[in-house]
């Protein structure tokens, strides 16, 4: 019986192909919007999670601002030396709930030609960096406190750097940084790292980094300037479930005292920024969701309109069917199946186009999009709901026709 209904519905829809196609467009676009929206949302969510992973959880980042000439003069007059190891030591004492604290200095120095393609970053760090970033070694060990104190000329390589160096990148070999040979002490495990164009906060790709003990870079200095003492950033990790905002206030108090009230640094709260990004995402979802809802609504009206026309064109047929023994329910189901088939075919087409859109957005706009099965099911379900709602009235109109009146219609 159901098969019979479906076949019959399909046939009567195929009878007016153009009309059928046009009337499903609203549903089609609605479903496209839903699928695209959910894929963008899911992509953004996954990206945010990945960023949190890459930045470390419960972290605060203090960054040295790059200063203009004028600001540099200003800084000198206020006796601020920028972000220094000294600051880092003071923070160690002053910041509550602190777990780890990693001062980072980005070093500019020449490297062997084999590394030109990798273009690694050289970072002078301490042991805490490994803890915050959750780094793991495939070989050897990471920089320890003794290395830092003795300013040992050793280095730890990111997985890709080691790979590019080939045999020269093995543990125990030496790597020439600037003019100084550093002994390779350890090699990191490769970690998943995804570059995202719209990352809220730039993060270092540890696979492409060379780590040396903080302090050991002294010999690499080509000339003496105050900047040589400056850190690029200090990463702090605090215990879980702390109010990062109030901790950032404490940090700001300490630093502004040390820097003579001169704001040559900024405190970044990755989670706060990510929350903000999610807020933006939510607004975006709301807009796209409204478009989808309006489109589905208009689509539903279009379909209802077509089905009403359909019913009034087929009054005679309804009369014949009733005379031959069809009940009101039979007629109702017949027209409802037809509407449902109409909306679902539009929805399936829309879902296919929506998936294509998701890929296109990824390709052209570079946004991360992920199509999930439940998003497809949800959009089809919504379309089916619209189909039933807009089909019910025309089908009811068909069902309550008086067979005698219907038969008389020419």
């Amino acid at each position: 019986m159901i098969q019979e209904y479906l076949l019959r519905s399909l046939r009567s829809l195929m009878l007016h192909r153009l009309r059928t196609l046009l009337s499903t467009l609203g549903i089609l676009f609605g479903v496209v919007a839903v699928v695209a929206m959910l894929s963008i949302g899911e992509g953004a969510k996954q990206e945010t999670l990945k960023q949190i992973e890459q930045l470390g959880i419960n972290t605060l980042i203090i960054r040295q601002n790059s200063l203009s000439e004028e600001q540099q003069g200003n800084a000198r007059s206020k006796k601020s030396r920028g972000l220094t190891v000294e600051d880092s030591l003071k923070l160690n004492k002053g910041v509550p709930h602190l777990l780890w604290q990693a001062p980072v200095k980005v070093i500019k120095a020449s490297l062997p030609g084999t590394l030109q393609n990798t273009a690694p970053e050289i970072l002078a760090v301490t042991n805490d960096y490994k803890e915050i970033k959750g780094l793991r070694l495939s070989e050897g060990r990471f920089i320890c406190n003794a290395d830092k104190e003795r300013k040992n000329l050793i280095c730890v390589l990111g997985a890709e750097v080691a790979r590019s160096l080939g045999t020269a990148g093995h543990k125990g070999k030496t790597l020439r940084i600037g003019s100084i040979p550093f002994q390779i002490l350890g090699i990191l495990q490769s970690t998943e790292w995804q570059e995202s164009k719209n990352a809220v906060i730039a993060s270092t790709n540890v696979n492409q980094a060379i780590f040396i003990p903080l302090g050991s870079e002294e010999g690499l200095r080509t000339y003496q300037t105050p900047e040589n003492d400056m850190l690029s950033e200090i990463i702090l990790q605090v215990q879980p479930n702390q109010d990062l905002w109030s901790i950032s206030q404490v940090i700001d108090n300490i630093l502004s005292r040390l820097h003579g009230n001169f704001q040559d640094y900024q405190i970044v709260l990755p989670q706060a920024l990510l929350n903000q990004a999610q807020q933006t995402q939510r607004t975006f979802n709301l807009v796209l969701g409204s478009i989808a809802a309006i489109s589905l609504l208009v689509g539903g009206i279009g379909i209802m309109n077509m089905m009403l026309a359909n019913v009034s064109e087929r009054v005679k047929e309804i009369g014949i069917r009733r005379a031959l023994g069809a009940t009101k329910r039979d007629i109702l189901l017949q027209f409802l199946t037809e509407t449902l088939l109409l909306t679902l075919s539009g929805a399936i087409l829309g879902a296919i186009i929506g998936v294509c859109c998701a890929f296109a957005i990824n390709y052209f706009a570079g946004w991360n999009t992920i199509v999930t099965v439940w998003s497809l099911l949800l959009s089809l379900g919504m379309a089916a709901g619209v189909g039933i709602c807009s089909g019910l009235y025309p089908a009811y109109q068909a069902a309550i026709l008086d067979p005698i009146v219907a038969l008389r219609k020419e």
């Binding site: 005379a323 023994g325 069809a326 020419e410």
Partner: protein, 235 residues
Amino acid sequence: MLNNASRQIIIELKGLMKRYQMGHSIVHALQGVDLKVVQGELLAIMGASGSGKSTLLHLLGCLDTPTEGKYLLDQKEVSNLSDNALAEIRANKIGFVFQSFNLIPQLTVFENVAMPFLYQRKEQDKEMLKKMITESLTSVGLAHRINHHPYELSGGEMQRVAIARALATKPLLILADEPTGNLDSENGKSILQLLKGLNSRGVTIIIVTHDPSVAAHCPRLVRMKDGRIIEERYT
């Protein structure tokens, strides 16, 4: 029909009345109709338009219910059944033939004839169904047109398909409403011959018409005027 008494009565009307409202006035379409039809009869109901013959046809066909009176179909009271119960009776016991053929243009001849089975709500063997439909089409001489669409047929052929559709489910009776009204005299005659042939094989047929030449083919004639039977005669 000399042996009417020995045959089963399939229709019995007792004081059937039908009134309906039309604007501000009440129309008395039927004002007490008594009628008995036995199995195997070929009966013509005649009357001018407005005589109540169409209303009677709708009541006989269970498309409508009477305002007063009794209607026993196959010895069961059907005058106060629900809409669904009436639909079931139409599907199983009655075959309709209309003046304007009333085939569904999108469906093939076979599908048109198959349609009543769809509403019988019985588990039917597909092969068996196919056999019944083909048989029915063969009996009206259209087995070779089985996959054609109605628009490919002549008027006479369309009416034959309609008769095949009415016949296929082997109903208790066939109700024909002006079956020759839309046909030329030659096609009309052949349709009447076909109905007579079916009747001679035992099918009960009631023809509603205003055409005396059609009525002349029927052994029993019922004449109506103003919602009443004014003449009943056997020829």
